[in-house]
């Protein structure tokens, strides 16, 4: 099993529903977020200007620097490649935050490190993650890469895609369709 997410930059309208859905589903403290929207503008006015949105979160990398540098094993990988943090093993040293090229982690006000969990509690029940379930334009697609019939496998087969900073070597599993 290898969970992954695809994010269709052509469909996203930047409404931010995924961000709010995550905050509600996961009790993310006020002022923090596990996913966020980036607006990317290319070109200089008055020439061709293009704009697209990206919904970003932890990439649940295949090669995880955040797990490697954790001194206690609090950061770990569970079934399906989901990267998680165990709060009462975490000392809050921040090594994982510093080692994530995507700035996907943050210090929870209680002191441990928090981040996207790919809603593993929902996925275990066979549901989609909260952000995917709520997306009004179906720009977010979730599934198992090892299953050729899963929505994410089909999306990656039928579209051109890219990942963020592949040169960082983390093998990110959040794919952007273009």
């Amino acid at each position: 099993m290898r969970y992954a997410m695809a994010m269709d930059t052509r469909k996203c309208v930047g409404c931010g529903d995924c961000v709010v859905a995550c905050q509600t589903e996961n009790d993310v403290p006020i002022g923090y977020c596990r996913d966020w929207i980036v607006e990317a503008v290319q070109g200089t006015y008055p020439d061709t200007v293009q704009m697209h949105f990206k919904s970003e979160r932890c990439n649940h990398c295949d090669n995880t620097p955040c797990v490697r540098t954790c001194p206690t094993g609090a950061s770990h990988v569970i079934e399906g490649g989901i990267v998680k943090v165990t709060p009462n093993e975490c000392i809050g040293c921040g090594a994982c935050i510093v080692s994530c090229p995507y700035n996907a982690r943050f210090v929870h006000p209680e002191g441990y490190i928090d981040k996207c969990t790919f809603c593993d509690h929902r996925v275990a029940l066979g549901q989609d993650t909260a952000c995917v379930a709520v997306c009004p334009t179906d720009a977010l697609i979730f599934g198992d890469l090892d299953d050729a019939k899963s929505p994410v496998s089909i999306a990656l087969k039928n579209n051109e895609w890219y990942v963020l900073a592949p040169e960082a070597g983390t093998k990110p599993q959040l794919y952007f369709l273009k």
Binding site: G92, A95, S99
Partner: protein, 333 residues
């Protein structure tokens, strides 16, 4: 041109707009680690060379410093944790791939010889100090420690053991100190996500810089003319190596892939240029080196002057590396 901005209102403390999670405490922690490593290396090396009685300042008295600053470093480390009450998790786990874990264990292990060393020489240290400065306020405390150490059989036993095996202990201490000195750089270089840190040269660079700050401190503290000159010369060599390594660091980065090139540019025209080249390179390395050359050529220069510049330069170097490293990052468009 691409411009990116968060439209979902993301402004997380220490992470946005750019990472600044680690700050002063980590920089001081790395500085103290390097300094302690250097003092232990010199003291043990002088002991192994049979110079302990010739240079009592370095081989005996200075060993009072490492246990104090290592403990202070450990306190800083725990203070800097965000989930402080769980710090004991550090000592329940050893993760070979995590430099943070290595550091915590090295510091813990090195505490044993670091504490034993001054205890072995406690009488000599007290004599040395009271001979030179009978009013020294430290003496009361040292006498008390000496009395306590003699009172408890178990402590006496360990001191005796350490005396019997002083030679092998010195070798082990030197190895541990080298690990500690290199570790202060490796802690940073293990972070692939931070291009400024992610270079193999950082370990040797931090070790050299640490040993150089240690030599400067010993040169300052020593009252023996030969000893002062020796450390002055040593420090000149170390400073030259350090300058060479720094130039190498930036040359390598400038010739590297885009992220490293951009990182080098932070120091070659970017926001860190003046503070690094004037503050660290100029005032922290070149200026004290010139003072030391003058001193070796018999100009009258108080030894605390270059020492002070080298020590502050070493600390400034770590501050800048800690902050600039977090500022450097991959382009995540």
């Amino acid at each position: 041109m691409t411009e990116e901005l968060f439209v979902s209102g993301r402004h997380i403390e220490h992470i946005d707009p750019y990472l600044n999670l680690w700050g002063g405490p980590i920089a001081i922690y790395l500085f103290l680690g390097g300094l302690a490593a250097a003092i232990l290396i010199f003291a043990n090396f002088f002991f192994l060379m049979g110079k302990a009685d010739k240079y009592p300042m370095t081989a005996k008295v200075s060993t009072l410093i490492p246990p104090v600053i290592i403990s202070f470093g450990l306190i800083l480390l725990v203070y800097d944790l965000h989930h402080k009450l769980y710090f004991w998790q550090l000592l329940l786990n050893f993760r070979i791939e995590s430099p943070m874990s290595w550091g915590a264990w090295t510091l813990t292990f090195i505490m044993i010889p670091a504490i034993l060393w001054p205890l072995i020489y406690m009488r000599d240290i007290i004599d040395y100090l009271s001979e030179r400065n009978p009013a020294c306020r430290l003496l009361g405390l040292l006498n008390w420690i000496d009395k306590m150490a003699n009172k408890f059989g178990i402590v006496r036993f360990f001191i005796g053991l350490a005396k019997t095996y002083q030679k092998p202990m010195a070798y082990i201490t030197i190895v541990l100190s080298l690990i500690l000195g290199v570790y202060t750089g490796i802690l940073l270089s293990a972070f692939n996500a931070r291009p400024l840190w992610n270079t193999a040269i950082l370990g040797p660079l931090f070790l050299t810089s640490g040993v150089s700050t240690g030599a400067a401190l010993l040169m300052w503290m020593s009252k023996n003319h030969d000893e002062k000159r020796l450390f002055s010369k040593l420090d000149l060599i170390l400073i030259s190596v350090e300058i060479f390594l720094i130039i190498h660091l930036f040359m390598g980065m400038k010739a590297g892939p885009l992220v490293q090139y951009d990182t080098a540019m932070l120091f070659l025209g970017g926001p860190y240029t003046s503070i690094f080249w004037v503050g660290v390179m100029g005032l922290g390395l070149v200026f004290p080196a010139i003072l030391e050359i003058l001193e070796l050529n018999h100009y009258k220069i108080p030894s605390w002057l270059p020492a002070l510049f080298i020590l502050s330069g070493g600390l400034a170097f770590r501050y800048i590396m800690v902050y600039a490293g977090q500022f450097s990052s991959y382009n995540i468009l």
